[in-house]
């Protein structure tokens, strides 16, 4: 299937729910007006002296001059994290149940034009995988698919989530954006957390790299978290894929987006992820070259100080060394025992059924991650949560 870039990425497609919200407009206005070069040392110092940061402070902390204050930022981020979360580090693992995708995102290994091994787990496969993951002691799982409404419809995903709820305390999804009534169906199936990455908050760049499929519609994706909360979800996660566009601006928009959602839905539990671009199968030009580890740490610290109450997740895309050092400095959640291929949790003698989305850097299992967390003087926590919905 080839897509011809015809649709306007800012136009909704038929069937996509439009909600009453000005949050996108406010975020895009901030993106258009920000000038990171105008911030000076005083702005950064001022931001670092405050407890409640505003947008201007956030921008100062993401500015080039703030790089000179990285040590101070990180020290404050560490203390802030401990105040809100103590020494806890939460563990989870993603489970890919299918890798079919109708979209054409140029940076992703699952894109419809990429020649990879496609697969989709059936009910027995899913149960087998869930059991194997549960054996490791994990209590939180994130169900993922590629974005194919045709091959992996809502009913299929809801079924998988119901199965997952049997074995796990916390079930989250990272799937294609839905309408609010569809999120309500997932919520009734045991899901309480929804992750949607906006990838980049620059609509022009967004249109250039999302060549086709539903994902091409920027505002529908943007408002997914809000629709998820309207559908009854307890928490939502945000993320820009750092390295696609100007990372400072994308990080600023992510944090602002999350904070506006928080203000509008005070009960919502907010999480942010900090993925950088990773190499994918069949395209070695894609690399997180311009987002250095220093930049990533600056982003993490800025997120922590601007949104002290938010979870920050650090994925296995990052190296063991980086993760071991950063878990003590502001993040609250890490993945463990990660396999991005389809059906890879099935057991040792099992062939992986489908190719993965990207390459991971840290392939440590749950026990190893627990030890790394303990070695950093922290406490690994599997779950801190009760689902008060009704799924059984």
């Amino acid at each position: 299937m080839k897509f011809i870039q015809k649709t306007d990425p800012m136009e909704y497609l038929e069937g996509q729910e439009q909600i009453n919200s000005d949050i996108m407009q406010r975020v895009l206005e901030a993106a258009n007006s920000v000038e990171f070069d105008k911030f000076n040392a005083t702005d950064v110092e001022h931001a670092l002296s405050k407890d409640n940061l505003n947008l201007n402070d956030l921008q100062a902390l993401l500015s080039p001059v703030a790089a000179n204050y990285l040590e101070e930022m990180v020290a404050k981020a560490k203390a802030t994290k401990e105040r809100y979360f103590g020494k806890n580090i939460y563990l989870f693992t993603p489970q890919y149940i299918a890798n079919h995708c109708d979209n054409n995102c140029v940076y992703c290994g699952f894109n419809v034009n990429n020649d990879i091994k496609r697969a989709q787990l059936d009910e027995d496969d899913i149960i087998k995988e869930l059991k194997n993951i549960a054996k490791t002691g994990l209590k939180e799982i994130l169900i993922l698919t590629g974005e194919s409404q045709t091959k992996t419809p809502l009913s299929y995903i809801a079924k998988a989530c119901k199965l997952a709820k049997r074995y796990f305390d916390i079930v989250g999804v990272e799937i294609y954006p839905l309408n609010s009534d569809e999120y309500a169906i997932l919520h009734a199936s045991g899901v309480d957390f929804v992750t949607v990455f906006q990838e980049t908050y620059n609509p022009i760049k967004y249109g250039k790299i999302h060549l086709g499929g539903n994902k091409r519609v920027f505002p529908y994706r943007f408002n997914a978290q809000e629709r998820a909360l309207m559908g009854g979800m307890r928490g939502v996660a945000f993320g820009a894929l750092l390295g696609i566009d100007d990372w400072r601006c994308d990080a600023m928009c992510t944090a602002l987006h999350a904070s506006l959602i928080q203000a509008k839905y005070p009960h919502a539990e907010i999480s942010i992820s900090v993925p950088r671009l990773r190499p994918i199968i069949n395209n070695n030009r894609i690399n997180p070259r311009d987002v250095t580890e220093c930049a990533l740490l600056q982003v993490i610290a800025a997120y922590r100080l601007f949104l002290p109450y938010a979870n920050i997740t650090l994925s296995s895309r990052e190296s063991e060394y980086f993760r071991d050092n950063v878990i003590a400095l502001g993040v609250t959640k890490v993945s463990a025992g990660v396999s991005v291929g389809i059906g890879e949790h099935g057991g040792k003698d099992d062939e992986n059924k489908g190719d993965g989305q990207f390459e991971i850097s840290d392939s440590r299992d749950v026990e190893q991650m627990k030890n790394a967390i303990k070695n950093a003087g922290l406490t690994p926590v599997m779950s801190d949560y009760i689902y008060t919905g009704v799924a059984k």
Binding site: E82, G86, K87, G137, T379, V381
Partner: protein, 253 residues
């Protein structure tokens, strides 16, 4: 003997430990050094497999005070409380109903409904709340066994920001008033006890200290000192100097 009476159970220690920061070392420090006898515990944390459950780290002679953290309304609080009972957590339960994930401030309105609901379902509910006399009176009427006002936002270590309001609760409400959340220093815990609080709860202040054990000990002593000062009846605070030879001494009988 001066004992704390909580839901009919008597305690020597008036320092209650929160386990929200989840560090086993913290728990043992508070038991050994601060002589804590009560540890609060989120039911959602008991709901774990044997290896990970926090209860593993808490000795049997310590009283667990389960809470409903994670509840966003009265019905969820009841559901969580029932789950706690199934897991062996007992009838006494601290009601935490929070609909604000930013500051984690308790929702007095839903908490009141939860107190009513849980009390009528046979639980002994303790009310974690914003210090507000009018609502606190309603909590008493609804069946609360103690009032647990927050001193300052949780984890803020800001101390007795709500001091005046807490004093009013102490003066007006007959149930134990237990300061819960916001206490950042032993001196603040001491002050709360001097004011007449029945007990003080802390977690973050100890969990984030440089030396957890020494800080736990400091808190234990501060709470005791404050209680002694309260029982001894503090001298009156006067703005004017009181002359040891009174100016009116010349007046004859």
């Amino acid at each position: 003997m001066d004992k704390l009476n909580l839901g009919g159970k008597l305690f020597d220690s008036r320092f209650i430990m929160g386990s929200g920061k989840f560090d086993p070392e913290l728990i043992s420090a508070c038991i050994d050094e601060a002589k804590t006898q009560i540890i609060t515990l989120a039911i959602r944390r008991v709901n774990q497999d044997q290896n990970a459950s926090i209860t593993k780290f808490i000795p049997k002679n310590i009283t667990l005070l389960p809470n409903t953290s994670g509840a966003r309304d009265a019905n969820e609080a009841l559901r969580i409380a029932r789950l706690g009972k199934e897991l062996g957590c007992g009838d006494m339960i601290k009601i935490e109903v929070i609909r604000d994930s930013k500051f984690l401030l308790p929702d007095n309105y839903e908490t009141l409904k939860a107190i009513e609901l849980l009390a009528s379902n046979g639980f002994i509910p303790l009310a974690y709340m914003m210090p507000d006399l009018v609502v606190a009176r309603d909590m008493v009427n609804a069946g609360a066994a103690a009032i647990m006002p927050l001193a300052a936002p949780i984890g803020s270590n800001k101390g007795l920001s709500n001091k005046d309001m807490i004093q009013i609760l102490i003066d007006e409400i007959e149930l134990p008033i237990i300061v819960d959340a916001g206490i950042g220093r032993p001196s603040q815990a001491c002050e709360a006890m001097e004011m007449g609080c029945a007990a003080v709860m802390a977690n973050t202040a100890i969990a984030t200290a440089g030396d957890i054990r020494v800080m736990a000990r400091a808190f234990g002593k501060a709470v005791e000192a404050g209680r002694d000062a309260y029982l001894a009846k503090l001298g009156r605070v006067q703005n004017k100097a009181s002359a040891s030879s009174p100016l009116t001494g010349f007046l004859g009988q």
